[in-house]
């Protein structure tokens, strides 16, 4: 940026010096205008640099903030998934807990019933033993009944013991489940708290991001406006310089008594007679017309030797006709400039390009993509197009159908 500014300043200074030497009165006025505009341009460049830095910082912040928001979103997603899993686990544990409690209740009831039955059986057994103790008539039957009573009581006692064991196991399982539920609920509360914290951090980050975006938009708008002003100013300065040079050349030619200049009205016809004809370099709208124009921003009258076509950022620029690339490089005031020589003294000039897709000396046909426009936050860029015939600039709209 600073090198470009220095180059512009150098050009402006050179133009001012030459104008002051070659053009006595009107040139001095132009030179004064140039100095004045140079100061304004410098100031605007500084402002633009500062704004661009701020915008870059805002973009960096926005990126960081978006990254943080994304991270927080991911964390929140994981947290919600974790909470959902914990919730399902708690639900399953509660179901198991309920079943275990029911089992314990049933086992307690069964245990009580079994104990009661066992006690009553013992009473019956005791009464039966007493009643049959002195029975000498059926000793074997009594012996067998006693044995079976022992079997019965043992089976009952085993049943009670089994129920007791099952109940103890269930109670242990129940207490284990209760512990699990408590631990899981504590974990869920903890994770909820973490989730709430993440949510609040995300909200905070979003608010910060919204602030950054607002700031970024404001800066972008400001930068766009500044760049547009700078571009116009550079264009103005450049044209003034060219006008000075053109006058010098004409003056030298007139002094030498050279051949008369061809009529400009013939030039469009010469372009039209090119093999394959001409076509628009891109789809866009003419925003700066050819010829003398009054710039309201800087309140100066300038003579445009070409037109400026506003098109989409990054749009491809095509050759208007067949020819050979005569020049591809940077030109002060026009950025990257490509010049195609169509032969017979016909040239087409494409300024403010971002990239070149052809090399110097390479033959191009009509419609060959020669370069791209630069990208812009506003989504719009401007192509400078100039047609020259026999060293004279002609209105491109007279030779090529362009949307105005």
């Amino acid at each position: 940026m600073s090198r470009g500014i220095r180059r512009i300043l150098f050009v402006l200074l050179a133009a001012a010096v030459s104008l002051s030497i070659l053009v006595p009165a009107s040139a001095r006025d132009i030179s004064a205008d140039l100095r004045k505009e140079r100061g304004r341009l410098l100031e605007m460049k500084e402002r633009e640099e500062k704004t661009a830095q701020e915008l870059t910082e805002a973009l960096r912040k926005e990126k960081r903030s978006k990254g943080r928001v994304g991270e927080l979103r991911e964390q929140l997603k994981r947290q919600r998934s974790l909470l959902s899993r914990i919730d399902r686990k708690v639900s399953a544990l509660n179901d198991r807990l309920e079943r275990a409690e029911k089992d314990v209740r049933e086992l307690a009831a069964a245990h009580g019933q079994a104990r009661t039955d066992l006690e009553r059986a013992e009473v019956v057994a005791f009464a039966g033993q007493r009643a049959g103790a002195g029975d000498p008539w059926h000793p074997s039957a009594r012996e067998r009944e006693r044995y079976f009573m022992r079997v019965y009581l043992a089976a009952d006692a085993e049943g009670v013991a089994r129920i007791t064991r099952a109940r103890m196991r269930k109670e242990e399982e129940l207490s284990g489940l209760e512990r699990q539920v408590a631990v899981t609920e504590r974990k869920m509360a903890r994770e909820k708290k973490v989730g709430d914290t993440l949510l609040s951090r995300q909200e905070e980050e979003r608010r910060r991001l919204a602030d950054i975006e607002r700031e970024k938009k404001r800066k972008e708008k400001e930068l766009k406006s500044l760049r547009a002003k700078i571009a116009r100013m550079e264009s103005v300065v450049s044209r003034v310089e060219r006008q000075v040079k053109e006058r010098e050349r004409r003056a030298r030619k007139a002094a030498a008594g050279g051949s008369p200049v061809r009529e400009p009205a013939e030039a469009p016809r010469r372009f039209a007679s090119l093999s394959g004809g001409l076509s628009a370099p891109l789809a866009g709208k003419v925003v700066t017309r050819f010829g003398r124009q009054h710039d309201t921003t800087f309140d100066v009258t300038i003579e445009n030797r070409g037109v400026e076509i506003e098109a989409a950022s990054g749009a491809s620029v095509k050759a208007v006709g067949q020819g050979e690339v005569a020049f591809a490089g940077a030109v002060s005031g026009f950025g990257n400039v490509l010049i195609v020589q169509h032969g017979g003294g016909l040239f087409s000039v494409y300024g403010r390009l971002e990239t070149f897709l052809v090399k110097q000396g390479e033959a191009v046909k009509k419609g060959t993509v020669v370069g791209n426009l630069p990208g812009s936050p506003s989504g719009k860029s401007v192509l400078y197009l100039e047609l020259r015939a026999g060293g004279t600039a002609i209105d491109p709209t007279s030779a090529i159908p362009l949307e105005s």
Binding site: Q113, A121, G128, W137, S140, E143, R144, Y152, A155
Partner: protein, 296 residues
């Protein structure tokens, strides 16, 4: 040549009236003795009663199938001392148990029957001895299907002792009555010999030897005693048969009526009749001697 008079039934010819009375009395006694003899013989004292009360219980393991248990019961029934061996499945055991302890039925609830099946082994009355019981229980304990053998080891010796005591008491009483009957018979014979002493002296004076007279009298007493004992035993046996038919519970003590017709029972009755004949003859000789020598 002098004619020698027959001495057979001399008493009958000399004293018909008293002899008829004696004969009727003896017949009635022999009826009672026959009844008692056959009862004691068939019952074996208290053996049949005790054998009906006593049973060996072979409690089977829970998982023994019915078919195997039935087979085991058949094998147990084939043992010599065993009268019967019956398999009762767990269901029957449970029902029997509930009959003994009716209050338990509602207590069991859905618990089901915990009872195992068992085989009830009953011993023959004549083999109800400690050795035979040990033989059977040892055989049953050796079978892996058997969980427990209940043979009343605690009280069986007492039972067997009581059985032996009852046996000897029964036969002792019977023998005592028989001895009393013998003594009464001797007295009757002596009394008749005294009463007929003049007639016997007359015969002796006419050349009839006293020993021959005594022999014929004893022989006639033996024959009559045999006949009376046989008929009395038959009558007593018939009465016992009728009693057993009329009162079946007595079968548990005496035995089934059909046992009366067993050859061994008939043989025992015949032996009893022979014994009675000998006793009658002995009573006749002893009465003769007592009358001859003036002894009581």
């Amino acid at each position: 040549m002098s004619e020698r008079p027959s001495l057979w039934w001399i008493d009958w010819r000399l004293s018909q009236g008293p002899l008829v009375r004696e004969t009727i009395g003896r017949f009635l006694f022999f009826c009672l003795f026959g009844f008692a003899f056959l009862s004691l013989l068939l019952s074996g004292g208290a053996s049949r009663f005790l054998a009906d009360r006593y049973a060996i219980t072979a409690v089977l393991r829970a998982e023994v199938p019915s078919a195997e248990a039935e087979g085991l019961a058949r094998k147990a029934a084939a043992l010599p001392p065993v009268r019967s061996a019956v398999y009762r499945d767990p269901e029957a055991a449970w029902k029997e148990f509930l009959r003994a302890y009716p209050g338990l039925d509602p207590l069991r609830g859905a618990g089901g029957s915990p009872m195992p099946g068992y085989i009830e082994v009953r011993i023959r009355p004549d083999r109800l001895t400690g050795a035979d019981v040990t033989l059977v229980t040892s055989a049953l304990r050796a079978v892996p299907l058997v969980e427990q053998v209940l043979a009343g080891e605690e009280w069986l010796p007492r039972l067997l002792r009581a059985g032996r005591l009852a046996y000897w008491v029964g036969w002792g009483i019977f023998g005592a009555f028989l001895a009393g009957f013998f003594l009464v018979g001797r007295l009757q014979e002596r009394a008749r010999a005294v009463a007929l002493a003049a007639d016997f002296a007359f015969l002796t004076e006419r050349g009839v030897p006293a020993g021959r007279l005594a022999f014929f009298r004893a022989a006639a007493a033996a024959v009559s005693g045999f006949l009376l004992a046989a008929s009395g035993t038959a009558a007593g046996g018939s009465a016992l048969f009728l009693c057993l038919r009329k009162f079946p519970f007595l079968e548990g003590v005496v035995g089934p009526p059909s046992d009366l017709l067993l050859p061994r029972t008939v043989a025992a009755a015949a032996l009893f009749s022979c014994g009675a004949a000998l006793l009658s003859a002995a009573a006749s000789l002893l009465g003769w001697r007592a009358a001859r020598y003036g002894r009581k």
